[in-house]
Amino acid sequence: MLKLQVASRAGVGASAEGCASSGCGGSSAGLSHLPEHIRAKVHNHPCYSEEAHHHYARMHVAVAPACNIQCHYCNRKYNCANESRPGVVSELLTPAQAVKQVLAVAATIPQMAVLGIAGPGDPLANPERTLATFQALAEQAPDIKLCVSTNGLALPDLVEDLCALNIDHVTLTINCVDPDVGAHIYPWIFWKNRRIKGRKAAEILIERQQQGLEMLVARGVLVKVNSVLIPGVNDEHLKEVSRLVKAKGAFLHNVMPLIAEPEHGTFYGLMGQRGPTHEELQQLQDACAGDMAMMRHCRQCRADAVGMLGEDRGAEFSLDKIETLEIDYPQAMARRRQVHAAIEAQRAAAAQPPAKGEILISPTAIKRVRRETRPVLMAVATSGGGLINQHFGQAREFLVYEASAQEVRFIGVRKVGAYCSGPEDCGELDWVLEDTLRALSGCEVVLCSRIGFEPWGQLEAAGITPNGEHAQEPIEQAVASLYQEWVAAGRVAMPSPELARRRA
């Protein structure tokens, strides 16, 4: 099971919610082709709204172990605690345990708005477990949104059940719409009590996915499509996938990079299939964005991730810890309502132009700058709330924004040391920094709350300017004002050295 990401290109300040301060607001503008009721659904969903993910949290529970297909990027050994790859979880839960865990998390982290079942296998290949979990939550915690991910093979048979439980978000992983491409991604499927291999397998899977997509859209269920970008296998083809799924009514297309290392034991990992570079991913997302809303903030969470996107507090809610817990959910629900109302008030306030006398520079201000300035990629360390509020050394990921004369736009998330957790596996700290530098390729600035002396020097040596002067400021405003500064200093008048080289 994989999850991936996508983005929108709309200009800052053009957002329907009037979120002038937010490049993330681009997401609502990118969704402007959608009917109002769908935009409302997306508004508070951390996985779908770039702006909402700063404020709300989501959670996955691992109740679905079995799978009915094999993908070349997946290894069915799913119990490795050191990995944060999609499809990897540490503890398999029964539906009853899962419900308990969800209630515990929702009571402790009131921002938790969305519960997803994503694996570790295919949720719809485990219909009893998946539906039992949803059923209990729909009854006991009606304020939590429910969503599910699937490869689509079993989807047409379960659409009615999902609708009956009021599941309003389904994530469908579609890597191809051509069986000849699919034959290089899926070695087999289990279908009608037989294992089917080769092109035929891909043909059946694709047909079921498309049928499921159509059925969900016809019933008004939100469908997000995930695709894994596999260079040389489906890269060009994904443009066609994007066109087709949009035409059929998917509301978002999320293109995620293939993650393949020999250590993972997957077909691609062992056969030396590489993942895309940041640039390739961005190019493809841009190409698809012309067609529909894309989502770029996806973190490819583990199937049991808990917390805000990019953070995992799962260890706090392990089985032994929740077992003895007594939860008064009605009381928790009242508190959750308050917290959500406060968040909404804060978001509404953030959408207002700064009051007179404040010296914040709005991103729209940079529109007045002469057009010859080149765009600059800036990486941001944040732990949420839409602020620059994380120490460089603590950042496990960076949000990348592109500042230009026209706009500040959110480009994507770059993970650092994301696929293993300990120095035991990953070697020395030097290695981590090296990995960070690699993750930041193409960026010219890193904005963080603080940064150590040593990494400061190494970043500078690598041509990246560390900046801690905008700590606790809203991200887009800081990016815009720094860009403004660079413009004034004449630092962005020319193509960057790297760009010049590429064009030569």
């Binding site: 079995a66 009915n68 070349h72 296998g121 009893e128 009590n193 037989r194 294992r195 020999p262 062992l270």
Partner: protein, 92 residues
């Protein structure tokens, strides 16, 4: 005659609900087949169900002790390739 599950099974539950004879036991460290119950899906399905969905190569053996899904048959990864990579990673 019966099938059996051996070491390497990842307890993924895929096989269990499919077995027409309720012969599969969800036990630790890995799932097992009750030899007395398994009838090789005889008369029920053309293919033994457990062996048709199991995603892990080599963990289900037929009545003769032969792996139903030998190395490379499910993942497409040539066994030499896997062995070579393992050696490489071990040497790091």
């Amino acid at each position: 005659m019966a099938f059996q599950i051996v070491e390497g099974c990842v307890n993924c539950w895929a096989c269990l609900p499919l077995c027409p004879s309720q012969a599969i036991l969800a036990v630790k460290p890995h799932f097992l087949i009750d030899t007395w119950r398994c009838n090789e899906c005889e008369g029920q399905y053309a293919d033994p169900q457990c062996a048709s969905i199991c995603p892990v190569e080599g963990v289900i053996l037929d009545a003769l002790g032969i792996p139903s899904n030998p190395p490379g048959s499910l993942t497409g990864i040539p066994p030499e390739r896997r062995a070579a990579t393992r050696a490489e990673i071990g040497a790091r």
